[in-house]
């Protein structure tokens, strides 16, 4: 149940909204379901709401896992 996309927070609007940017396309989304969002954070957006922040370190680690050449068990 999933169409949700990672977008970059470009601008905060009031307490509960933000403009996010994906590849140059901008949209206003609600922050009602999330806390502590700052400009520059990446958030996952679903039906106009930000659901969760993306953790850049975990993302980098996951990408590194993809590149592992076989055999090594994941941490």
């Amino acid at each position: 149940m999933c169409l949700a996309i990672p977008t970059c927070v470009e601008q905060l609007i009031g307490k509960d909204s933000a403009i996010v940017n994906l590849g140059g396309v901008r949209k206003e989304v609600s922050l009602a379901l999330i806390e502590d969002v700052a400009v520059g954070d990446y958030v996952i957006v679903h039906v106009g709401f930000a659901l969760q922040k993306l953790d850049p370190e975990e993302a980098a680690q996951t990408l590194a896992l993809f590149a592992e050449i076989g055999g090594a068990a994941p941490e």
Partner: protein, 375 residues
């Protein structure tokens, strides 16, 4: 696009595919179910099946909320919107779902009903604000990813003191569905279907966290790997499941660690708990009645409950007798096994739930993969 393109890299896909091929034991078969419709879609759209060895087989699960919504509920919506002056707001996915007598919300719209597609529940609230003289109903569907936005909409309507806004609540729960599958006769008694492990949904898990899956892993001794939404995520999760199965483990692992934590989004969970409560039982299209699998609006938000404001009869509309959706949703049969598939039942003329949404197993296979059989 950051956090999207890197996770679709073809070179990395080859690498993971090589890992899977190397580590999959040629002496055994691996039957893995991806629960979430978004994963079904990704597997089909990127042709992931082409990159897996023959003994690793993906089985499509019932994680498509459009597919599992009973035709009776859609018929309720179609009847509602024919009330004079009523505006029905829904997500795009719902417009073509067939109800009774070949009707759908799109066809009702063509006959003059005021059906409006919205991108967000907040848009429905706005429409209610702008049309105070008319009743506005928001047709809410979805698993745990989509439920918090509905909760926000109801609270917003309350804060605005809206008297003309109600929600027709059809939200369903992931863990109940997984449980139901694992307890189905084909698995428990008949041994007809082997299900070795699950790929857990991506965005549902950002909300509910990884904790709820621990019960299944423990109780049914099946590994669960929560996977992100991109094709590389799905492939890595398949590799992690193969590893668990080879090592005899049955744990919950989280491949989507960049967005999923063990606790999930607590704020969203609390909001949902405030507005909704469990229904004792709910009918799922193709799966029948499942206890404690769906939500309804709590008494203190009764003013925003469509089922209290209007008379919504419980309609039971059976699927075509030859339709194999129930078996397909449980993973026991494949789309190709259904007589109606590709002949009477196509995306343009769907007969059952699996063809209705672009993520249903039959629709995904028809749109992206049917060249495989034909070859």
């Amino acid at each position: 696009m950051k956090y999207i393109d890197e996770f679709r890299d073809g070179a990395l896909a080859k690498n993971i595919a090589a890992n899977i091929a190397r580590e999959a034991d040629p002496q055994r078969r691996y039957h893995l179910m991806e629960f979430c419709g978004g994963h079904t879609h990704a597997i089909s759209r990127y042709g992931i099946a082409d990159l897996l060895p023959a003994n690793v087989r993906m089985i499509h699960g019932p994680g498509c909320p459009v597919c599992v919504l009973p035709a009776g509920r859609v018929e309720n919506a179609v009847q509602l919107v024919q009330m004079p002056g009523l505006i029905l707001c829904c997500y795009g996915d719902m417009l073509r779902v067939p109800a009774a007598n070949g009707m759908s919300l799109l066809k009702a719209k063509a006959r003059g009903a005021d059906v409006r597609m919205v991108y967000s529940s907040a848009d429905a609230v706005k429409i209610a604000q702008e049309n105070p003289q008319r009743q506005v109903v928001f047709f809410a569907i979805g698993f745990e990813t989509t439920t918090p936005p509905t909760a926000v909409a109801i609270r917003q309507a309350q804060a605005l003191g809206l008297k003309n806004f109600t929600v027709f609540c059809n939200h369903v729960l992931t863990p109940s569905a997984i449980s139901h599958i694992l307890q189905s006769p084909e698995i428990r008694q008949l041994g007809v279907l082997t299900l070795d492990g699950f790929i857990g949904p991506a965005h549902v898990s950002t909300v509910i966290g990884s904790r709820p899956y621990e019960y299944f892993a423990e109780e049914f001794q099946k590994p669960v790997v929560i996977a992100g939404f991109e094709p590389l995520d799905v492939m890595q999760a398949i590799l992690m499941l193969v590893r668990q199965l080879n090592e005899g483990r049955a744990e919950v692992e989280n491949e989507f660690s960049r967005a999923v934590t063990r606790d999930g989004n607590v704020k969203a969970q609390q909001l949902v708990a405030e507005v909704f409560e469990l229904r004792r039982v709910f009918e799922w299209r193709g799966l029948g009645l499942i206890p404690y699998s769906a939500l309804r609006i709590k008494a203190q938000y009764a003013d925003y409950d469509t089922e209290l404001r209007f008379d919504i009869p419980a309609l039971s509309i059976a699927d075509n007798k030859a339709c194999k959706c129930g078996a397909i949703l449980r993973g026991v049969k494949r789309p190709q096994d259904c007589k109606l598939f590709g002949t009477v039942c196509t995306p343009d003329n769907p007969m059952g739930s699996c063809m209705v949404s672009s993520e249903g197993a039959c629709a995904a296979y028809y749109s992206y993969g049917r060249f495989r059989e034909a070859a």
